[in-house]
């Protein structure tokens, strides 16, 4: 299937600044394609135009020039939103609704009714681990819980594409990890994911493909491996290797015309240290607790 | 900018379309005596800028009630000039409320006039009587204007009849207004009787009074009240009605 899940074609967005002659160019001639089944990361510093791009894809903001499509349907058409779920940047929901009511409400907007709606809500509450918090008002949810209910809300009408604006921003590493796991789970189920982030580290492990925005221009784009891999270098990680063995490898390498550039101990990431240190005591309480 | 223009144009076009409907509706309401108040400059000076604006913006009845309550307080303090002024405003604001005309006239012709004739500050009787007469006239004026605004309601005719009967002792006019009131569809049954009683006291109208009283008498047991019987007997005597045509003598 060749039809892209998302196509952004030559989009320019200019925001007028009220009461001034000046205007802000948020996006400049942006073209972007997301293939079905991929996790696509839109990266860039704050103010680079990520949110604007996503809003144009969802038809929330009309582009000044160009157009966007979802599975071949123009974003201006309401019907294009059938196949997409959206998690806005730091989403807020109606504080007076419980988690379950929030999902029911959005499910109805997505066209679900009756038993189908009920089952779907159950399923999603279980998926995002909020079954025990279902009867609590969102006013009392933690940031991570809100992000998860937001994700569930985006999935309620079983879209083939989800668009997530900064899904891990402001969430602690454990919460971010859970959200990453959820995103990978979506990919397994064949759902295309388009996400944005200004924290590269948080998403680089899960993205298949990334685009880097700077000042509204797509400066880099490609598969993650291609972007990060250095063509002519390979990393070996050995366990229990003696200094003699390492010497032999080095000699062998130079015999064959290769060269060992660097020898170092791999370091675990700080994030992993944090997670291991905090995991055990939090394990029983972290779910459903702010 | 373009859109603002388009929106303004559509509002104006809708305005053109709705104008005849609004005009016709307003007229229909007016024709039904849903008369809107004539907001003249005088009223604005009387009730003040704030009250005037409020009265214009749909709070007319509330402004009128406020003034009415003030009038009530002024009455308790026997400040008659203030009572008069306030009732003029109240009736201007709410010309369709019978009660306000009735109250205004009653305060003038009954309360203020009594106070005037008993005014200890005025030693000269002639002047006291003159003042009393003026208050009668003010009461009469309220009722006449009230009737002009509400010609289909019997209450103010009745009040005017009472004013002529009790204050001016003018039976002829009293009979006239009781009669006018009695002719209206909403009239209470006693107005016809009142009109006939008054007529029976007007010299020269004995025959007509007798006929009316007799007709009432003939209309059933309900009408045969002691006063009616007494007046009817008086007329029989005055007119020398033959004995066999007279009503049976049931008076003690």
């Amino acid at each position: 299937m060749s039809e892209p899940a998302v196509a952004v074609i030559g989009v320019t967005k200019i925001f007028p600044v009220p009461f001034q002659r000046r205007s802000v160019v948020a996006l400049r001639d942006l073209t972007l394609r997301v293939s079905p089944g991929q996790i696509y990361g839109l990266l860039g510093p704050n103010g680079s135009g990520k949110s604007t791009t996503l809003k144009i894809i969802l038809g929330l903001v009309p582009p000044t020039k160009g157009r966007a499509e979802i599975f071949g349907k123009d974003s201006n058409l309401v019907a294009s939103r059938e196949a997409v779920g959206f998690l806005p940047e730091s989403p807020y929901f109606h504080k007076y609704l419980t988690g379950e009511e929030t999902l029911r409400f959005h499910g109805k907007l997505g066209g679900l009714r009756g038993a189908a709606l009920k089952n779907r809500v159950e399923e999603l509450l279980a998926l995002v681990g909020l079954t025990n918090a279902r009867k609590r008002r969102l006013g009392g949810y933690s940031k991570g819980m809100l992000q998860r209910i937001g994700l569930a809300q985006a999935l309620v009408h079983e879209p083939a594409l989800v668009v997530l604006d900064e899904p891990t921003a402001g969430v602690d590493p454990a919460g971010a990890g859970e959200i990453r796991d959820l995103i990978l789970h979506l990919k397994e189920r064949g759902i295309t994911v388009l996400l944005s982030s200004h924290l590269l580290g948080q998403v680089q492990e899960i993205c298949d493909r990334v685009g880097i925005l700077a000042n509204g221009v797509l400066v880099r784009e490609g598969a993650l491996d291609d972007l990060l891999g250095i063509e002519n270098q390979t990393e070996l990680v050995l366990e229990n290797a003696s200094p003699e063995l390492l010497g032999e490898i080095e000699t062998l390498a130079s015999k064959r015309g290769a060269r060992v550039l660097d020898r170092r101990r791999p370091r675990t990431s700080l994030e992993r240290v944090f997670l291991e240190a905090t995991e055990s005591p939090r394990e029983q309480t972290r779910r459903d607790t702010p | 900018m373009m859109r603002v223009f388009v929106v303004l144009i559509s509002v104006a076009l809708f305005g053109v379309a709705k104008l005849p409907a609004e005009h016709a509706l307003a007229k229909a309401h007016r024709d039904l005596h849903f008369r809107d108040v004539d907001f003249n400059l005088g009223l604005r000076e009387q009730i003040g800028q704030l009250g005037f604006v409020a009265a214009l913006s749909g709070f007319r009845s509330l402004v009128a009630d406020g003034l009415f309550i003030q009038a009530h307080v002024a009455w308790e303090r026997t400040e008659w000039g203030r009572v008069l002024l306030l009732f003029r405003q109240v009736t201007t604001l709410q010309p369709r409320v019978i009660l306000f005309w009735d109250m205004a006239a009653w305060h003038m012709a009954w309360n203020a006039s009594t106070a005037a004739i008993n005014n200890p500050a005025q030693p000269r009787l002639a002047l006291r009587i003159k003042a009393q007469r003026e208050y009668f006239a003010l009461g009469k004026d309220f009722l006449e204007r009230g009737i002009r605004n509400n010609p289909e309601r019997p209450q103010l005719y009745e009040a005017l009849g009472r004013l002529y009967r009790d204050k001016y002792i003018d039976h002829e006019h009293a009979a006239e207004f009781f009669g006018k009131g009695a002719a209206l569809p909403e009239a209470p049954s006693y107005l016809k009787r009142f009109a006939a009683y008054e007529l029976s006291q007007c010299p020269g109208h004995e025959r007509e009074a007798y006929d009316r009283l007799h007709a009432l008498y003939a209309s059933g047991e309900n009408e045969r009240l002691p006063t009616l019987l007494r007046r009817l007997k008086e007329m029989e005597i005055k007119l020398d009605i033959p004995l066999d045509q007279r009503i049976p003598d049931r008076l003690p």
Binding site: L58, V78 | R96
Partner: protein, 295 residues
């Protein structure tokens, strides 16, 4: 996955948004307004003890219906004015409009939520008003019966009829219905203003002006249509008011109804229809601006 084709218009979605809006509004404690109404009603009833029953009923009706008119108008403007800004500020509008929900359905759902709230409020106020009126009527009837126990039955009947006539009249119901229609019109107009306003305060201020000018529109219109001698500046000013503003005075029929003039059904229906036309038109305008609004 098999998915039913997208429906361009869905009552279910509108009902969902309406329900959501109503829930939101009821949790805003707007019903304190009803409490205030009850206090006003009870307050006047206490004061009324010094007046005769006709005066009392007149004033109670004036004040109750006047308060109903003010409170529903106020409720309509204040609740509608913050509807869109609040949703945009809370960013809840993004998740809603990112679903396959046409914007016109969103606006309609929001407006219906407000109209439902207004209906509930006016029903509650009306019920309270009728209960107070009924209780006072019964008291006065009882007192009259006692005071006139020696009078002839015909006079007694007359007096009781007078009491009943000055308390209840069926004409009050269409009067209250028209108050509601006026509130609907104001809510819809507020929604329209809020689609281009930048702040809630701006919307509210605009609506206060509209409210006052709307009540003068009738005078301006009649003057413009009849008077040919006015200068062209005056005439264009009057025409502008007559064309751009609704005649709100048409929806103030309670004064006359309290005075005892029943409003004929046909006239009532025409007035209500005009109000609903206005409501629909302003919704359409709101949609035309909201259709491609940047969020």
């Amino acid at each position: 996955m098999i998915r039913p084709r997208h429906r361009a218009f869905s009552l279910g979605r509108i009902v969902a948004i309406t329900g959501n809006t109503l829930t939101e509004l009821t949790r805003l404690k707007v019903f304190y307004v009803l409490l205030l109404f009850a206090l006003v009603l009870i307050g006047t009833s206490i004061f009324m003890a010094q007046l005769t029953f006709q005066q009392e009923f007149q004033v109670v009706k004036d004040i109750a219906l006047g308060a109903m008119s003010i409170f529903t108008s106020l409720l309509a403007v204040v609740t509608t004015a913050r509807l869109l800004p609040q949703e945009i500020e809370d960013r809840t509008i993004y998740t809603i409009l990112a679903k396959p929900v046409p914007r016109v359905e969103y606006l309609l759902g929001k407006l219906l939520g407000v109209l439902l709230l207004l209906a509930l409020s006016i029903i509650a106020m009306g019920a309270l008003f009728f209960i107070v009126l009924y209780l006072r009527e019964q008291t006065v009837l009882y007192e009259t019966t006692r005071q006139m126990s020696t009078a002839p039955p015909e006079q007694m009947a007359d007096a009781l009829r007078a009491v009943r006539a000055s308390a209840f009249s069926a004409g009050l119901l269409p009067g209250i219905a028209i108050i509601y229609v006026k509130a609907c019109l104001l809510a819809s107009l507020t929604l329209f203003v809020s689609t281009f306003a930048t702040t809630t305060v701006f919307t509210t201020v605009v609506m206060v002006f509209v409210y006052f000018i709307g009540h003068l529109q009738g005078i301006a219109r009649e003057y413009w249509l009849q008077n040919n001698s006015a200068g062209w500046i005056t005439k264009s000013l009057l025409a502008l008011v007559a064309l751009l503003f609704p005649d709100l005075q048409l929806f103030n029929r309670t004064d006359d109804i309290i005075a005892g003039n029943a409003i004929p059904l046909a006239l009532f229906l025409k007035t209500a229809t005009l109000g609903l036309f206005y409501t629909g038109f302003y919704l359409l305008l709101a949609w035309s601006l909201f259709f491609r609004k940047e969020l």
